[in-house]
Amino acid sequence: MNKRYELNKELAQMLKGGVIMDVTTPEQAKIAQEAGACAVMALERIPADIRAAGGVSRMSDPKMIKGIQEAVSIPVMAKCRIGHFAEAQVLEAIEIDYIDESEVLSPADDVYHINKRDFKVPFVCGAKDLGEALRRINEGASMIRTKGEPGTGDIVQAVRHMRMMNSAIRKLTSLREDELFEAAKQYQVPYELVEYVHENGKLPVVNFAAGGVATPADAALMMQLGAEGVFVGSGIFKSGNPAKRAAAIVKAVTNYTDAKLIAELSEDLGEAMVGINEQEIALLMAERGK
């Protein structure tokens, strides 16, 4: 196996048990780092604002990303559009630590995802189910996150995606070996990936929860459902007291089974982001890129 790919998967391992926060300015990045973020996602507009503004949403200004890289010592991630390998090349050129080929932005290609094997920098990709996750891994993703429904503050889709993925993994582990070939065909991925999941009972890369996490209890729910860490997008900087909420979510991820602690952490956090229910939204970002 390619050593660079191994190193990129291993960086994701270092992020486990942590919270990756969306930030739009160096100041927010510092607040996130001080609150205990294990990495930040630099983007011009958080998903809730992208959703509100409508229109085409693209990669952020590299100058803005560089400002954030200079402001913090933790890893910095940034998003490019699905299939937009030229945006990914730009992000690699400014030495981003992780690229998120993200459905939050408007897709640039409605058929092909980026051939992530061509890059030295690592990629994280969203997935709703095991098939999507394995297809992205086959393309070279070294980390997976649930898609959830970004910018809604509604956890229902992240829960659905994590449950679907993990139940498919459990099913795969229970198959007879001679049934794996058919499973590979159904998931549209090489046999070796299916075989890995069958033998190990997990994805070959780290799997985080993302999309709709707004409270410490949301984060704890996703961790108990099997997430290895959590992305929080709009949930922090769309809330009343970002620093306090961010720090509380970080602690909830570390001690995700300690309900007493999470109760304390959930006190006096100020207003949570308002949020919208999935039935109320016209645009389902999770349906982008399969």
Binding site: L7, K16, G17, G18, V250
Partner: protein, 194 residues
């Protein structure tokens, strides 16, 4: 034997898998009450030192762990763990456990593109695999500190009394030599301090 594995954030499960392989029991340290268990050694894993350092304090585990290390509890610190142990961090006033007289340079190899794998000598162990992920290195070690590994002229491994600190991640590679060395220290901690 019971090894405490600091499990606040980062790659602690990887260390636990090595301990499983070596047949050693361990306790995950996630909050203060976990420190009530008697430990024969402690592992500080890789991850983000800013996150781990903050949680150590806010979950009220900091003083207890610092005192135990100062009292001779053997410690194996990898990557972020090395930063937690260091007395000084270059270009940063932050101090964490400060039990190891070194100055450490964070993200010393730059961003993720600077992460690399190599095989190199470790004092007394011969050539071992070394995986560096956004790693620190030791900018300066006080004379009383034993330098155990140097890669490209940079110090990446040190030992001092009951403390082993390395920039790389033995928990990610096949070799268990570093862990075995640490466990030997845990079996007879007084020898290590002599």
């Amino acid at each position: 034997m019971n090894i405490g594995v600091l499990a606040l954030q980062g790659a602690f499960i990887e260390h636990e898998k090595v301990l499983d392989k070596l047949g050693v029991d361990y306790t995950e340290l996630r909050q203060k009450s976990d420190l009530d268990t008697k430990l024969d050694g402690i592992i500080l894993p890789g991850g983000e030192s800013t996150v781990q350092g903050k949680l150590l304090r806010e979950l009220d585990m900091f003083e207890n762990i610092k005192e135990q290390i100062e009292d001779g509890l053997p410690v194996l610190a990898t990557c972020a763990g090395m930063i937690l142990l260091a007395k000084d961090i270059e270009d940063d006033d932050t101090k964490h456990l400060s039990t190891l007289p070194i100055t450490v340079k964070r993200n010393a190899y730059g961003r993720q593109l600077g992460s690399f794998y190599t095989e190199s000598d470790y004092e007394g162990l011969g050539e071992i695999p070394m995986t560096f992920i956004r790693a620190p290195f030791v900018a300066e070690a006080k004379p009383e500190v034993d330098v155990t590994a140097v890669v490209n002229d940079n110090i990446v491994g040190v030992e001092y009394k009951n403390q082993i600190a390395i920039s790389f991640h033995p928990e990610l590679d096949e070799s268990t030599k570093i862990h075995e060395r640490f466990l030997k220290m845990c079996e007879s901690p007084t020898v290590a301090q002599a």
